[in-house]
């Protein structure tokens, strides 16, 4: 499912956070939202999923304008904070979310097993989440987003606090999902991870400063490092896009 955002603006308390961003994301690709912390990545993701309304502009999934209740079934969302229930076990959390998506028990039990294996939590699935480590919580949160086999995945910093081995495993999984035709949007502030994506959207101070394939973006730099593009943007002061 293609996602198109047109002239998206969002302010919090009269302070613009997202400034006139237009972006079109074709299906079956992994898009990285790249930017320093505070750039507006999380806000953009929450706008794209419809968790907060846009001040101006519109977002469509295919032809459907969001927010749309039926559409939510096709979207998987992993927020930046873990957003899972500490008092419940891993399986308890996943069964709850599965039921919210209207899955039936006999269908979701197998699926829960699958995603738990995927994030390597099978053995700890019966433990209450409050006994999990930070990384385990993150993985459970990812499992909850994958549970209902969504067509579009929006993951807000999914690899923060996850060790390199597991991080690699997650990227392998994301690429597999991509091959199944799923659209994946991942935000990160780890510049190295950009090589895992098909396209990168560089966000700086609420603006989309670059959006292209990773190889094209790297060819713009001298050092072959994506950071350079942010340094360029920082030097180029002014020129704020008006809303």
């Amino acid at each position: 499912m293609d996602i198109t955002g047109r002239n998206i603006c969002k302010s919090f308390h009269h302070k613009p956070v997202i400034k006139n961003v237009s972006i079109s994301i074709p299906s079956g690709e992994i898009i990285c939202l790249l930017g320093p912390s505070g750039a507006g990545k999380t806000t953009l993701i929450r706008l794209l999923i419809g968790a907060i309304p846009t001040d101006e502009g519109e977002i469509r999934y295919g032809q459907t304008l969001i927010p749309n209740l039926a559409l939510l079934k096709k979207i998987g969302f992993m927020p930046q904070n873990d957003a899972i229930y500490e008092d419940l076990s891993g399986t308890g959390n996943l069964s709850f979310f599965a039921e919210l998506y209207g899955m039936r028990k006999k269908d979701y039990m197998g699926r829960i097993d699958e995603v738990l294996r995927l994030v390597d939590l099978k053995e700890d699935s019966g433990k209450p989440v409050r006994e999990y480590s930070g990384g385990m919580k993150k993985r459970l949160s990812l499992a909850a987003a994958l549970l209902h086999e969504p067509e579009v995945l929006l993951l807000d910093e999914p690899t923060v606090g996850i060790d390199p081995v597991l991080r690699k495993a997650i990227w392998v999984q994301l690429k597999k999902l991509k091959e199944q035709g799923k659209t994946i949007i991942v935000s990160t502030h780890v510049m190295d991870e950009v090589t895992e994506c098909d396209k990168a959207a560089l966000i700086y101070q609420g603006q989309l400063i670059q959006y292209d394939t990773v190889s094209n973006l790297l060819s713009l730099t001298k050092s072959n490092k994506i950071e350079e593009l942010f340094f360029l943007a920082a030097d180029k002061k002014g020129g704020d896009a008006a809303c």
Binding site: G50, A51, L69, L72, I75, D87, F96, E99, Y101
Partner: protein, 340 residues
């Protein structure tokens, strides 16, 4: 909706302290109130100057449930005597024109002393004897027996209010509310699910509370106890709805606690503890916005007056309307987080 209710139940079962707080804390507090307000069987001590009182009166006084102390100093300067002898509750003396009672301070002990002196005077002069009768309740009922129903309502309300209010604030702060709203769940299912989940615990809590009150603490009910359970359940559901409502205005669990004085304490005063028609400036009408007023009044009508459905339908209706209004409002407020 049911999956959310199921989750709430799993969460409470997984959190043993909350579970214990909901079930045992009310019992503990009620037992404490019972001990504080129950019949103490206190024997007051009264000081008199036997030489200055008629002999018949002294004899009559000694027949009362009281310790009579003979002290000449008591009659001459009763204030000083009482200050120096703290164990004495009252000084009784008599002159040609009048008899006088001096007491240390106004308290339930001084009330007992008064009762003993009145008893002695009545014994001497049978024509003075006043036969006191109440249409409902007896003269010897303890404060707990006449007021117990209020605490039943207040306590049922209080605990559920705190727990449900906190749970929703926590859900909002941890981001799980946003995550939940990013699934196709309907807003009214969220409010409904919460109400059902806590409602089930409210049923358990209510039944334990009522049975404990009647069979352990000996609070009697003239009417059918099932009506009491129904009212307390409605009251608990109102508490869930009010907890959800408050969580909208509270940014943290700490702020929920700050709402307790505002929401709970006035309701306790308007629950029937104080007769409402004696309040100045028609403040009594404030009770109509307080759910505990409806709950406690209805409980009183059943337990004390022995009414049935005919006597309480209005209060049941009022609580139901309260729940419906709050739930609708809460569902609308969730729009803040998701338009649909």
């Amino acid at each position: 909706m049911l999956s959310l209710a199921k989750r709430v139940i799993h969460q409470i079962l997984g959190d043993k302290r909350t579970l214990a707080l909901m079930v045992f804390a009310p019992l503990l507090i009620l037992s404490l109130i019972y001990l504080l307000l129950g019949d103490s069987g206190y024997k007051p001590s009264i000081a008199i100057d036997e030489s200055k009182l008629p002999e018949a009166l002294v004899t009559a006084l000694k027949e009362q449930e009281a310790d009579i102390i003979n002290a000449a100093a008591a009659a001459s300067d009763p204030d000083k005597y009482l200050k120096n002898n703290k164990q004495v509750d009252a000084v009784f003396s008599m002159s040609q024109s009048a008899s006088s009672i001096t007491m240390y301070e106004s308290s339930s002990k001084s009330g007992e002393a008064m009762k003993a002196i009145r008893g002695a005077l009545e014994a001497l002069n049978p024509a003075m004897k006043m036969d006191t009768r109440y249409v409902y309740g007896g003269e010897d009922d303890s404060t707990f027996q006449t007021m117990g129903y209020i605490f039943l309502g207040v306590i049922a309300f209080f605990f559920i209010f705190i727990i449900s209010g906190m749970a929703l604030v926590r859900e909002r702060n941890s981001g799980t509310l946003e995550r939940m709203l990013m699934t196709p769940i309907k807003r009214r299912s969220i409010i409904g699910g919460y109400t059902i989940g806590y409602g089930i615990f409210a049923i358990i809590q209510t039944i334990i509370l009522v049975l404990f009150n009647i069979y352990v603490l000996g609070l009697s009910s003239k009417g059918n106890v099932l009506w009491v359970i129904l009212i307390m359940l409605l009251l608990a559901i109102t508490a869930v709805a009010l907890g959800e409502f408050i969580s909208i205005f509270a940014n943290s669990e700490f702020q929920v606690v700050q709402f307790i004085p505002l929401i709970i304490i006035p309701q306790i005063f308007f629950s029937g503890l104080i007769p409402l028609d004696t309040l100045p400036y028609h403040l009594g009408v404030l009770s109509y916005v307080m759910p505990i007023y409806y709950g406690c009044t209805a409980i009183k009508k059943i337990m004390v007056y022995g009414y049935g459905f005919g006597g309480i339908w209005f209060f049941l209706l009022a609580l139901t309307v309260y729940i419906a209004l709050l739930s609708t409002f809460n569902t609308l407020v969730l729009k803040k987080y998701r338009k649909l």
